[in-house]
Symmetry: C2
Subunit: 372 residues, 2 copies
């Protein structure tokens, strides 16, 4: 018996989209779902209560960052990540693979694992599949991602093939090292870059290892959107129907909707909170760069159709003032709004699947948000 169980409620008649529920040790979540990112055991600027108020059902945190600071042993002593950060709903941790491979010259990959230097203090570390399982078992999330290698874009065929095959071998080692499968679900990650045959090979190898869920990695790494959608459309059908499918690191509104249409159930991205801290809001009318002078005397909410705390209480003019003066409340108010916007978008997407009108919803949303 695995720690999480996917329940398929309905398959879209027009697209590959599916409506479902994921049962986890910390509660049931509705899919398709967007997971706010709390890289360092905090969704930047937000409290757990605020995350709940806007409808966050599950959040993501980051193994690489928590391993370095404050350390997984400390979090274990604190009673695990849920208790440490005061969040009692489901948590997914990624494996740190993406972060470590992004270090470039600071890391060295071997069959055994990855040696790297901390981006904080230059200290030397060695992550292996076994070590990553030890860390994620200590952190105690409901879902833990396997240690994989995310190939860059562009990358030649040979590199990507070697990389995906190593990712398979590492997944086997992860599964063998995982100490707590009754309470924590290990997800495997399909790689293969932009090569369809390699995606197929990876999907075959990864899903041959029986696990409670599978992810698609190595997309949204710089490739054109059309290519990403093409690879996604090719890859998702290769995953089992009775398991959740997670597209890693994707979170712009168009990618969320196109991902759902291609059969994805779970998404995460730092985008909504990152652009918030930079003064940009996602709204029903598209992006609003509230820092712009044109909003100086705009006494209307960020989004006239939104009912979040920010839009109920504050004007663009005030939020612009906060952003221009680098006040923390500015980052808070826009983060709250942006996360609410994406969580609400996914709620609307789920309703559209239920009502058999996902393509209509997609077209209406794109016309409004992107003007196309």
């Amino acid at each position: 018996m695995y720690a999480v169980r996917y329940e398929l409620i309905k398959t879209c008649k027009q697209t590959g989209a599916r409506l479902g529920r994921l049962h986890t040790p910390h509660g049931v979540i509705d899919t398709p779902i967007f997971m706010p990112v709390g890289t360092q055991a905090t969704v930047k600027s937000m409290t757990p209560e605020e995350l709940k108020e806007i409808g966050s059902q599950i959040i993501l945190s980051n193994t690489y960052h928590l391993y370095l600071r404050p350390g997984h042993e400390l979090i274990k002593k604190a009673g695990g990540l849920h208790k440490f950060m005061n969040w009692d709903r489901p948590i997914l941790t990624d494996s740190g693979g993406f972060q470590v491979f992004s270090l470039g010259p600071l890391r060295k990959i071997t069959e055994e694992g990855v040696e790297f230097r901390s981006h904080h203090d230059g200290s030397k570390h060695f992550l292996t599949p076994e070590k990553v399982m030890e860390i994620e078992n200590a952190l105690g999330p409901d879902i833990m991602m396997a240690f994989d290698e995310c190939a860059p874009y562009p990358a030649d065929r040979e590199y990507v093939k070697n990389s995906l095959e190593r990712t398979t071998r590492w997944l086997e080692r992860c599964k063998a090292a995982h100490k707590n499968p009754e309470n924590q679900a290990l997800f495997g990650i399909v790689q293969g870059g932009m090569y369809k045959d390699l995606r197929e090979q990876s999907a075959r190898e990864i899903t041959a290892i029986d696990l409670p869920g599978y992810a698609i990695g190595g997309l949204s790494v710089g490739e054109p959107k059309d290519l990403m959608y093409e690879i996604l459309e090719y890859t998702t059908p290769l995953l089992p129907e009775d398991k959740p499918r997670y597209l890693m690191g994707v979170g712009s509104p168009d990618d969320l909707i196109e991902g759902v249409i291609r059969g994805i159930d779970m998404f995460d991205c730092v985008l909504p909170t990152r652009i918030a801290r930079n003064g940009t809001a996602m709204t029903s009318q598209g992006k609003v760069v509230v820092r712009n002078a044109s909003y100086a005397e705009d006494f209307t909410p960020l989004d006239p159709e939104c009912d979040c705390y920010t839009c109920r209480n504050y004007t663009k003019s005030y939020i612009r003032h906060l952003v221009k003066t680098n006040e923390i409340l500015g980052a808070r108010l826009i983060s709250n709004h942006n996360l609410h916007f994406l969580l609400n978008l996914m709620k609307d997407v789920r309703q559209a699947i239920m009502d058999d009108r996902l393509m209509d919803f997609r077209n209406e949303f794109f016309a409004k948000y992107y003007g196309k």
Copy 2:
């Protein structure tokens, strides 16, 4: 009829302390009171709802900063400062005098007013008593401070005497220029540096101008605490009993208690939120520098005797992690706690006056907080 009215409830039998209420257009506040500072139309990192939850009855904002950004005309168009920042309880604005005089070489004082360059962009500005009244009338706070000159410490007698006499003349001009006395209360400010006879002269001149409240400025500007308390003890009795007395820019726990003992009703200070952003908490056991390594595995709250949101939900270990990783939530949690601590301290002080045990309370608090 003035915009605010002071109601004396009780005078302490042991000290100069007084219990009272201040009736304002936006509600009644209990005195003695601490006012959280929202320099730029936001109490740093906090929402209005959070401020209310911890018992903030009135906040302070800053004329100088709001005049420069976003501008008082914009705030007037927004419907005034209360509406602009979504705060419906009383607001006091200081006049900008202190900030302008702190600019040093960037400003030039004449009888007419002060010419200065903005600390943001170097643009040239000229503040006069009339201009400050125009700004504060536009902002619309319940209480507006007169434009004064705050002498530095140390300063020679001649300088301080000229300065306080100009402050008196400027107060007369402020009163004459004030357009909205029915809805906004103008407070005069007693200066005089560390010279008792000059404090007496200033108090006599300032209180000769009939106003709904008076402040003591020019203290806590670098002088020894004993000297500050001595000057305070000399000055407060020179103020009328039927008006509120406000000691500007003071907010450490010892200064608050010593100020109350010497007859002060109102205080403000950036200290609790400033040290919070630096990782320091005020607790019933004294200051806690949560950044220190000794708290890395301390899974107890910041203050075991505190019932604020932060102390109910988070450990020192987690807050230390947030501070060390520069996470916004760290500043939020400690700011919330520190403001709660000072607001609660003042509540206890009011109760101690009510119970005729203020000196006992003082001694117990000092023993616990300062170990003396």
